[in-house]
C-alpha cells in the first residue's frame, strides 16, 4: 500500500516575507502516500507558512514543491486538485447554508455535481441534520467540521489539517481523530499541524519537528520515541541519606524528596543500561530501598528538549 514514491516532496524551500522575515529556511521534506504526518512546532515556527505554500495560498521565495508528481507552480491545476485544506482559522461565509457552501467548494475544484458524495461527507461529519442551517447559526465545533466537509467535498487524495483541534473540546477532539483515521483507511494522506503533542502521539505515523523555519527532525513516531526516549529509574529509599556516596558518583544520581529518593537517568538505546551494576553497587554502599519505578519520557519532553537545543 505504501508506495515508495512520496506524494509530496519539498526541496530546498525558503520563504522570506516582504518585511524581510525569513519564515522558512531551506526546508526539505517528503510525505509518503497514505501516511498521517504530524508537523510539530511552537507558534510562529513556520507550520502554516509551509502549508500555505504547498496549497497555493502563498508564493515561495526559493525551492520546489512537487505534489503527486506535479510542480505546484507549473502544473498548479493538477497539483491543487489533489489537495483539500482545512485552515486553522474558522473562515466561513456566514449567510450561506452548509449544503451550499460545501457544494460551492466542489464546484470550485472543477468537480461535477455529486449530491450523494456531499451527503456522505456531511453524514460522516455528523452535519447532515444541519445541511440547511446558515453557518452563522452553528457552534465553533460545527463550523470546524463544515470546513473539513468543504475540504473533502472534492475527494482529495491529500488532506491538510492546520491545527484541527485548536480550541476544540475533548469530546470533539476524539471525534475528529476518528474522522482522520477513517480517512486514512480510505487511502487519504493526512498532514496535520499541531502543538498538542498528545495529538501527534495519538495519531501520527511520522513526525516532523519545525522550529524557527527549519525542519529539525523527521522520524517515525515509534522510532523517535525509542531513539530519543530517556528512561528514568526512581528508587524510594528505606531511610534518609544526606549525600550520595562517592562510590556511586559515576551514575550521576540525583537525590530527591529530602534524601528519600534516588533518581537515575538512562538511555534505552544503549546496550547496557547500567541498572544491574547500579543495584549491586547500592547494596555495596549499604543503601536499601523499598520500592522502585521507571518512567519513559513522553513525546512532549522530547519535543521540548529538541526545540530548546536549537
Amino acid at each position: 500500500m505504501r508506495a515508495m514514491s512520496p506524494i509530496i516532496s519539498v526541496a530546498n524551500l525558503s520563504k522570506t516575507y516582504g518585511s524581510g522575515f525569513k519564515a522558512l529556511d531551506n526546508i526539505n521534506l517528503e510525505i509518503n502516500r497514505g501516511e498521517i504526518f504530524a508537523l510539530l512546532g511552537p507558534n510562529g515556527a513556520g507550520k502554516t507558512t509551509l502549508i500555505s505554500i504547498i496549497c497555493g495560498i502563498a508564493n515561495l521565495s526559493q525551492g520546489r514543491v512537487i505534489v503527486g508528481g506535479h510542480d505546484i507552480n507549473k502544473q498548479y491545476r493538477a497539483a491543487r486538485s489533489l489537495i483539500g485544506l482545512v485552515p486553522q482559522e474558522l473562515h466561513t461565509d456566514a449567510f450561506e447554508s452548509v449544503w451550499a457552501t460545501v457544494s460551492f467548494s466542489r464546484g470550485l475544484f472543477g468537480k461535477p455535481k455529486n449530491p450523494a458524495h456531499i451527503e456522505k461527507v456531511l453524514k460522516d461529519l455528523s452535519l447532515w441534520d444541519k445541511k440547511d442551517a446558515k453557518i452563522v447559526t452553528l457552534s465553533g465545533g460545527m463550523k470546524r467540521r463544515v470546513m473539513i466537509a468543504k475540504a473533502l467535498s472534492h475527494e482529495p487524495q491529500i488532506l491538510f489539517l492546520d491545527e484541527p483541534t485548536a480550541g476544540v473540546d475533548v469530546e470533539l477532539r476524539k471525534g475528529m481523530w476518528e474522522v482522520v483515521r477513517t480517512l486514512q483507511a480510505s487511502g487519504v494522506t493526512i498532514i496535520l499541524t499541531t502543538h498538542y503533542i498528545e495529538e501527534a502521539e495519538e495519531m501520527a505515523d511520522r513526525i516532523g519537528v519545525i522550529n524557527k523555519g527549519e525542519i529539525i527532525l523527521v522520524a517515525d513516531k515509534a522510532g523517535l520515541m525509542q531513539k530519543l526516549g530517556r528512561k528514568q529509574l526512581k528508587l524510594h529509599l528505606q531511610g534518609r541519606i544526606d549525600a550520595i556516596p562517592a562510590a556511586l558518583a559515576p551514575y550521576n544520581l540525583e537525590l530527591a524528596d529530602g534524601g528519600r529518593e534516588l533518581i537515575y537517568n538512562y538511555d534505552t538505546k544503549g546496550e547496557r543500561t547500567g541498572i544491574t551494576s547500579l543495584l549491586s553497587d547500592l547494596r555495596g554502599a549499604g543503601i536499601r530501598f523499598n520500592d522502585l519505578e521507571t518512567t519513559q519520557s513522553s513525546l512532549e519532553d522530547i519535543f521540548v528538549s529538541l526545540v530548546r537545543r536549537t
Binding site: Y17, A58, N59, Y76, L108, G110
Partner: protein, 253 residues
Amino acid sequence: MNFRAVRAIYLFEMARTWRTLLQSIVSPVVSTSLYFVVFGAAIGSRITSVEGVSYGTFIVPGLVMLSVLTQSIANASFGIYFPKFVGTIYEILSAPISYFEIVLGYVGAAATKSIILGLIILATAGLFVPLQIHHPWWMLAFLVLTAVTFSLFGFIIGIWADGFEKLQMIPMLVVTPLTFLGGSFYSVNMLPSGWRTITLLNPVVYLISGFRWSFYEIADVSVGLSVGITLMFLAICMVVVWWIFKTGYRLKN
C-alpha cells in the same frame, strides 16, 4: 478551463445579490428616482431643452451611467474584498483555478448585476420621461463595456483595499465627483471654454457622451473617441489585474 469553478463563483456572487436585494437593486432605483424628481421636475421645468432634447430626457443616459459606474465598482470591490476580509479567500487561492477564471467569475457577476441595474433604471426613467433609443445595440454595447471596465476597476480597488475605509474612498472621492462633473446633468458645450478643456480630461465625459449619443445622436465628443477612451481604460485595468496576480500583490504575501 475550469468552467465549473467560474460558474461556482459567478453563481455564489449572484446569490449574494438576491440575498441583499434591497441594498443591491431597490436603493439605487430609489435614489435615481429622486434625481428625476429634483433635476428633472424641479430644475428641468426652468431649462426647456438641451440641444433639442427636453432636460428630463437629456439626463437619462447620464443617470444610468452614474449608477452603472458606481454599482460596478461597489459590487466588484466588495465581492473580492469580503473573502479577503473574512478569510474565505484561502479557498479560491487553493483551488485549481487560473487568475483569468477568478476574474471572470467575480467581474462577470459584478458586471451582470450592474447591467441589470442599468436596465431597471432605464425602465424607471421611462416612467418619468419619454425615451427614445436611436442605436439600441450601441447602447447595449456601451452599457456592457462600461460595466465590465468599471467592475475590473472595482476588482482592483477590492484587492488594494485593506480596510473598509479604503474600499469607500475611491468611489466617494474620485468616481462620484468625476461622474457628476462628467456631463451627467449638462452638456459639456454649455460650459465656458476654459472649463470645457479641463472637463475633457475627465474620462467619464467620454463614457456619458458615447452613451448619450446611442440614445439621441447628440454627443460632446466623437463616438469613436468615446469607444477608444473606454477601451483604453479597460486595457489599463486588465494590465493592472494581470500584474496583481503575477506578483500575488496583497493576495499571496
